[in-house]
Amino acid sequence: MRTGVKLAVGALFVVAALGLAGVAQSLVIKGSTTVLPIAQLIAEEFAAIHPAAVISVQGGGSGTGIAALIDRTTHIAISSRAMKPSEWAKAVANKVYPYHWFVANDAIAVVVHPTNPISRITFAQLRAIYTGEIRNWKDLGGRDQPIVVVSRDTASGTFESFKELVLENKEVTAPAALFQPSNGAVAETVGRTPGAIGYIGLGYLNPTLKALPVARDAAGPFVEATRDTVVAGIYPIARPLFMITDGFPTGLVLEFIMFVLSDQGQRTVEEAGFVAIRRIGG
């Protein structure tokens, strides 16, 4: 009888401990606003499989996320760049050993109205357009028509990427530039406006838009915006996106990373308007 009671009490403790562990399974993800939509979508799907996990996804920028990883206040830092040497030094001094996971490609297509005769564009031309130096298509060999500059809002990750990769961190200063709240709104506006030029995540391309092949300089090569050129690493307005962990992770963090890299996770990456790290079957 006594052993029975002991066993029962013991079992109760085990159950209670497991319950507590279940409640305490938290996962903090923090960093780049560019990677944020991916992390949020995948976190929702992951939470559906792991109901006990409490997942918190926060923005703040790549630098903030990496700083949080170094301070051990986040499990996963999401970042639109690899860590800088100075950050590595700080991390190692704090006995944090960063492990970069390549989770998605951020690729941006430059789009114009389908009736626009322009067939390709360089980074220098894009900079001139977005800073207001060139204001008419005829200066680029097109029709005599004012250029309607369309941009994403300045707080968005797509804006941040475009600014870093193409504009050399210059601001969009074209005087009558339109700022749209979403990739969808940019696509909508460019698709309806004959003189417009805009930029959107590759996943938002549709037949009402013409994506221009782009080149870093006039010598070329001009590369078309397709999933293949992005995955092959030759499309110039693209960059890898990372999730960074402290060492090779275990437990819930490892499960989350594996979920991101799985076919289901990579399909979600594409749903969020980004390009998967490999070709995945529909």
Partner: protein, 308 residues
């Protein structure tokens, strides 16, 4: 309790009286509670807005914030000047009022003075329905219909302009102007109209010289509240105004309002950054402005209540 058969009914009536009194107290408590919840909510929102908005002045001084011409919130260091948005909001609101006031007042006079009584209520309902259309529907209608139409009509490179936003806001503020004016017109005593007719005034002369002057405080309240509606509207403006953060003194150029700035940038702004506090400070500016409009509108409206 009309009959009295001894003690039991007496007790019942005592209980009944007590219950009646208790009910009164409960009703009083519940209404008092509800009223204080809305007051408390207003108080908390105000405090929160100021607490989150004021820290922006650690990055930029108040004059540079209100008078600065450059808005590059994600630059290093950020430029946080909201003058273009204040001017944008002002321009769009004024043009919207230029649409809403004449049409609103004319609608109210038509409903109150001209139309046969049978049609009065259906018309009033129709005007109120106009106020019930969600702003995103106005925005979508604007984007799909008004934007291409203005583009074609005026030969503009893009139809996402201050004018587009102002036209839609004018239609949205019209019901506010119309229904407040209509109330004021209805409050003008009939004897005054009859007196005017007796002096030989025509219908039009009566409206112009008796009804409108008598209803002017209600009319003014309608204009002020309509202005509040136009200043505070967000979704429609966000969708059709183009959101260009540089102010161009032209109706046919894109513009950006205070409300659209918050809606556009809030979702992806890091919590606690200067940009975040700047957006709250923009909210505070809007709050102070609409509060003033409402207070003034209310005061003017009350004068109507007493003298109308």
């Amino acid at each position: 309790m009309t009959e009295n058969h001894g003690r039991a009914p007496a007790v019942a009536s005592w209980v009944g009286r007590r219950w009646g009194r208790a009910r009164e107290w409960i009703a009083r408590g519940v209404t008092w509670g509800c009223a204080s919840v809305s007051l408390l909510a207003l108080g908390l929102i105000t405090v929160y807005l100021f607490c989150e908005g004021v820290p922006v002045f650690r990055t930029v001084d108040p004059l540079a914030f209100l008078g600065g011409k450059a808005w590059f919130p994600t630059s290093e260091p950020p430029s946080l000047g909201i003058l273009p948005m204040i001017l944008g909001s002002g321009l769009v609101t004024m043009v919207a009022l230029a649409v809403a006031v004449p049409f609103g007042v004319a609608t109210a006079l038509f409903i109150g003075e001209v139309v046969p009584t049978v049609f009065r209520n259906p018309l009033k309902v129709a005007v109120e329905l106009l106020a019930g259309i969600p702003s995103v529907v106005y925005g979508f209608f604007g984007l799909v219909i008004v934007v291409p139409w203005l583009e074609a009509l005026l030969g503009l490179p893009t139809g996402q302009t201050a004018l587009t936003a102002a036209l839609l806001l004018g239609v949205m503020a019209l019901p506010t102007v119309a229904s407040l004016t209509e109330d004021a017109v209805a409050a003008v005593p009939n004897a005054w109209r009859e007196a005017a007719f007796a002096l030989g005034a025509t219908h039009w002369q009566t409206m112009r010289t008796v009804v409108v002057p008598a209803a002017r405080s209600g009319l003014l309240a309608g204009v002020l509240l309509g202005m509040g509606r136009a200043v505070g509207e967000t979704m429609t403006v966000l969708m059709v105004s183009g959101n260009s953060p540089r102010f161009l003194p032209s109706l046919t150029s894109p513009t950006r309002t205070l409300t659209a700035t918050i809606a556009l940038e809030m979702a992806e702004t890091p919590v606690g950054s200067p940009h975040y506090h700047a957006l709250f400070a923009v909210g505070t500016v809007l709050f102070v402005f609409t509060l003033l409009l409402n207070v003034v509108g209310d005061m003017v409206g009350h004068r109507l209540g007493r003298h109308g």
